[in-house]
């Protein structure tokens, strides 16, 4: 169960959701009974995050960050508006203010009518979201672990930097359509970089359960890998057989939604779902879904509009699948919301694929590497940006933990190398998929993450193309 409270007040902050089920739903429901808008939707999203950040032989940034946003959306006639506050005591005022703004918008020409709110619907049960191992991973345990990781790296003649995080997220939604939804979840994650000389290695993972992260073992592996890499050599320009570790593969497939797997893109006639629905993109072993019900990553039962989350296969058995939607885009395209409503900071609301999972395969990472006579192992990519959504082209660089593969084994460490390549092309040329999923967060997306296995791509270019462009 969520929220057992014992000990002093600072311990209570560490152990429980910021608002809690009864208080959150109680206050939000009471607020619904306020001014009479046609529709009202209210969500409370909070995160109690404890972060132990370490570098340069110290835990330099041990932090507790508690965030809370209560956002009200009111619809009055053809007008709608949102008002948000950072504490429940302001929610009644927010309902009144949003209703007033919506009324002022009512009847204005030039815009289509606003969408409604989610009706009552049962979300998937939230068993499995709350893990006591994560609660037990307190600041003392994390700081000691950080110190041990830095000591380990120092023993190998190097350094280590990283972050260990235990957090509690909660989301409560009530709507005038009758929906009542609440869930709270633990979250545990880590990332660390080990550096020995100019060589480095990286490890990271994220999930609900701290006991599954295997931080110590993966830290040891990272230190060992950095120590054996020697002086990094440049990535040779050219087309290589490449094994991407799960983190690098996750970086690449994280771009998929940009290629037209959202309802607004379909509505505008842009991208793969609009233009090539059902077309073969990749081998049939490749399935990539947005699946907030999966046992990996950060499962969560419903979105910020209160709609139960549905599994949406973006690529199903190698073919172009479907698109994620929220209430607004579903209304515009004539379907039902898939439960992917999202409001990012300084951005307009838009459906977001927040829990991407690539289906694992049968191979270990070592077996994928063993299948490459001469090529590259790429553990981590960095600063990847979309270049061409139509072609699926992304620019980025490799970063830590990258090696030459020679005769099926890792040999020399690699310096950072730049690539400009099509993710779609890479998926099409994938001939092996690893069995272990690794999860990483998606920045700026609430509860966002990507889980991916290692993949082996037959032909991926690093460096400039001989002709200068694709």
């Amino acid at each position: 169960m969520e929220g057992d409270v014992t000990g002093d007040v600072t311990q209570q902050v560490g152990l429980r959701p910021w608002a809690g089920r009864e208080r959150a739903l109680g206050v939000l429901e009471e607020a619904l009974a306020g001014p009479a808008a046609d529709h009202v939707e209210i969500f409370l999203a909070s995160r109690v995050g404890h972060h132990t950040r370490f570098a340069a032989d110290r835990v330099h940034q041990p932090q507790t960050i508690i965030e809370c946003q209560v956002m009200v959306r009111a619809v009055a006639g053809t007008g709608s508006a949102r008002v948000a506050v950072s504490d429940l005591r302001g929610v009644a005022g927010a309902v009144a203010a949003a209703t007033d703004l919506a009324r002022r918008r009512d009847g204005r020409p030039g815009a289509p009518p606003p969408h409604g709110v989610a009706p009552a619907a049962a979300a998937r049960h939230d068993d499995g979201l709350w893990r006591h191992a994560t609660i037990a991973w307190d600041e003392g345990a994390r700081s000691a672990q950080a110190g041990a990781i830095m000591e380990l790296a120092r023993g190998a003649g190097g350094t280590a930097a990283g972050v260990l995080t235990a957090a509690i997220t909660e989301l409560a939604v009530v709507t005038s359509g009758g929906q009542r939804a609440y869930a709270a979840a633990t979250e545990a994650g880590f990332s660390l970089t080990a550096r020995v000389g100019e060589a480095s290695s990286y490890a990271a993972d994220l999930g609900r359960d701290a006991s599954l992260l295997e931080v110590d073992g993966r830290a040891e592996a990272a230190v060992r890998q950095a120590a054996r890499a020697g002086v990094p050599v440049p990535v040779p320009d050219g087309v290589h057989d490449v094994v991407f570790g799960g983190l690098a593969a996750g970086e690449l497939i994280g771009f998929l939604p940009d290629f037209g797997f959202t309802a607004p893109a379909v509505e505008a006639g842009i991208g793969l779902v609009a233009a090539r629905s059902g077309a073969v993109l990749a081998p049939d072993m490749i399935t990539i879904a947005d699946d907030a019900g999966a046992a990996v990553g950060l499962p969560f039962p419903f979105d910020q509009e209160g709609t139960p989350k549905r599994r949406v296969e973006l690529i199903a058995g190698g073919r172009v699948g479907g698109a994620v939607s929220d209430l607004a885009s579903a209304a515009a395209t004539g379907g039902a919301s898939t439960g992917h409503a999202h409001i990012a900071r300084e951005s307009s609301p838009a459906p977001e694929a927040a829990n991407l999972v690539m289906a694992p395969g049968p191979a270990s990472e070592a077996e994928l590497i063993a299948g490459v006579e001469r090529g590259l192992y790429i553990q981590r990519l960095w600063y990847n940006r979309l270049v061409d959504a139509e072609a699926g082209t992304v620019v980025g660089t490799s970063r830590d933990g990258c090696f030459l593969i020679e005769d099926g084994a890792l040999t020399a460490g690699l310096a950072a190398g730049r690539f400009t390549e099509s993710v779609l092309g890479a998926l099409a040329r994938t001939d092996g998929i690893g069995s272990r999923l690794i999860t990483q967060p998606v920045p700026n997306v609430w509860n966002g993450c990507v889980s991916a296995p290692a993949i082996r791509v037959r032909g991926f270019r690093f460096g400039r193309r001989p002709e200068g462009r694709p």
């Binding site: 940034q61 703004l101 289509p112 462009r469």
Partner: protein
């Protein structure tokens, strides 16, 4: 600084100045000191953001987001601790202090290194943004008209599939107190806007945006800034350009002379200059996520970064930008700091912690994302000092080459050395005159060589400033900052690299 708060700042729960906020501030730093902190500071802030953004075919998104909270930072036996939370009641100040102390004590077990902050005299004062027209007092119908007119203008050309237009405003009260006796209050107002058009053809989509491709542009100013943007007129232009780009040719890859416009150069400065000079990054604090820097802590006065034409300044005292303030987020009084002088590195973007570790003084670059996050080294208002002459004179000086602007894609390695950028728009320049548009322009380089190839920059009349958000830290926080430049001429640039 005027004695009274201007009308645009008289809103919210924290409008009462230090007299009102003082008890909460005192409670936080007092509790921290009682709990054993050798140093503590608290940031208490209230923010409200207003957005009206419209996407074609959708009901506009109008929203007002408020936030009120505090963050307490403590130093216990040379180890930091931090905690932040939304403010519910007066007792939250002590709760945040207790949590910060608890974090610091726990962190000591994992810390071999300790920091000693040089003592500092109290620095107190008040600052407020000058806003001629309070953006929150502008009638909703006026906001609506600007957005709908811009949206309609961007959609007008045949071939535009989707358009977006919007205006935004933000206001905040920020209070700071420390155990050194500093008591500060700063009151900010920002206003901004944008328009963008997406045109589509066969297998091709092109985007044009104004006034900047990344979140539009936002300034420390009132509604007068939005009016000055002339969004409907500029939306019509970018709509037409997006369609023109669908049939534009691609530049031949190779090397070329390039004049880079202010919007793209602002991002180039951000990625390859600002980030590279963050002292926390240089000292390894960001090695796991944001990365390191090719610049070392001993670079000041010794490292040649660019040509003699390159002068880069951090100056938060310049008003009107998203990086304008009086005190940074750990209470350091800002000042003008030369970062690059005639091509040589001369200083860093530093905080008290990072500066203490190399035996220098902070350059007031510790910035945080509101009350909720730790201050980190972020750019402030970092800009390339203008040179002389007009854009036309610069194009004439270039002769043949390209004039490019407005970022489309950006990537730089974790040492801030090897970069590749794409721009939304580029024009061929022949004998000093702009000729046809070319699409999908890209260029790349290595930071010191690239800045070493800068031959000239245009004069103050061509100088533009852009406010932008930046992500850094774990958990990732946003720094809101500003960069500026006039169009500048670079030689022998690798182009067509994407």
């Amino acid at each position: 600084m005027s004695d009274e708060l201007a009308a645009a700042h008289r809103w919210g729960e924290l409008a009462g100045g230090l007299a009102g906020a003082g008890p909460l501030l005192d409670a936080a730093v007092g509790r921290a000191a009682e709990g054993g902190a050798s140093y503590a500071d608290v940031r208490l802030s209230e923010t409200q953001e207003l957005r009206l953004y419209a996407v074609s075919g959708r009901a506009p998104d109008e929203r007002v987001e408020g936030s009120l909270g505090l963050g307490v930072r403590v130093l216990v036996d040379g180890v930091w601790g931090f905690a932040s939370l939304p403010l519910r009641e007066a007792g939250d100040a002590a709760l945040a202090a207790d949590l910060a102390l608890r974090n610091a004590r726990a962190a000591a077990a994992g810390s071999r290194e300790r920091v000693v902050l040089p003592p500092r005299a109290a620095q107190s004062g008040r600052y407020q943004t000058e806003a001629l027209i309070d953006p929150f007092a502008v009638p909703a119908a006026d906001r609506e008209r600007v957005v709908q007119d811009a949206l309609a203008a961007a959609l007008e050309p045949a071939g535009v599939l989707r358009a977006q237009a919007g205006v935004n405003a933000k206001r905040s009260h920020r209070y700071f107190a420390s155990t050194e006796g500093s008591r500060q209050e700063q009151h900010f107002v920002e206003s901004g806007g944008m328009a963008a058009a997406l045109a589509g053809g066969e297998q091709l989509v092109q985007r044009r945006s104004y006034p900047n491709s990344f979140h539009g542009n936002t300034a420390a100013a009132g509604w007068e800034y939005v009016t000055g943007l002339r969004l409907p007129q500029e939306a019509a232009r970018v709509g037409a350009e997006a369609v023109q780009l669908l049939t534009a040719p691609v530049a031949e890859p190779g090397t070329a002379s390039v004049v880079i416009g202010p919007a793209q150069l602002a991002l180039q400065i951000h990625e390859s200059t600002g980030h590279a000079l963050e002292l926390d990054r240089i000292l390894g604090d960001e090695a796991n996520f944001a990365g390191r820097s090719f610049i070392g802590p001993d670079a000041a006065g010794t490292l040649r970064y660019g040509s003699a034409a390159v002068n880069v300044v951090a100056d938060a005292t310049v008003p009107g930008t998203r990086g304008s303030f009086m005190f940074d987020d750990e209470g350091t009084l800002t000042r003008r700091t030369m970062l690059i002088t005639e091509g040589l590195v001369t200083n860093f973007l530093s905080s008290r912690d990072s500066a203490a570790r190399i035996g220098t003084a902070s350059t007031a670059a510790a910035r945080s994302d509101g009350w909720g996050f730790l201050p980190l080294c972020f750019a402030t208002n970092v800009f390339l000092e203008p040179g002389a002459g007009s854009l036309d004179e610069l194009l004439d000086r270039m002769g043949d080459g390209y004039y490019i602007d407005d970022n489309k894609s950006w990537s730089i390695d974790s040492q801030r050395l090897n970069f590749q950028f794409g721009t939304e728009v580029a024009w061929e320049v022949r004998r000093g005159k702009r000729a046809r548009l070319v699409r999908d322009f890209s260029y790349g380089g290595v930071t010191p060589q690239f800045w070493g190839s800068m031959e000239a920059t245009a004069g103050p009349a061509e100088f533009r400033t852009f406010g932008m958000p930046c992500g850094k830290g774990e958990p990732k926080e946003w720094g809101f900052l500003s960069h500026g430049a006039a169009p500048s001429l670079f030689r022998n640039v690798a182009i067509g690299v994407a």
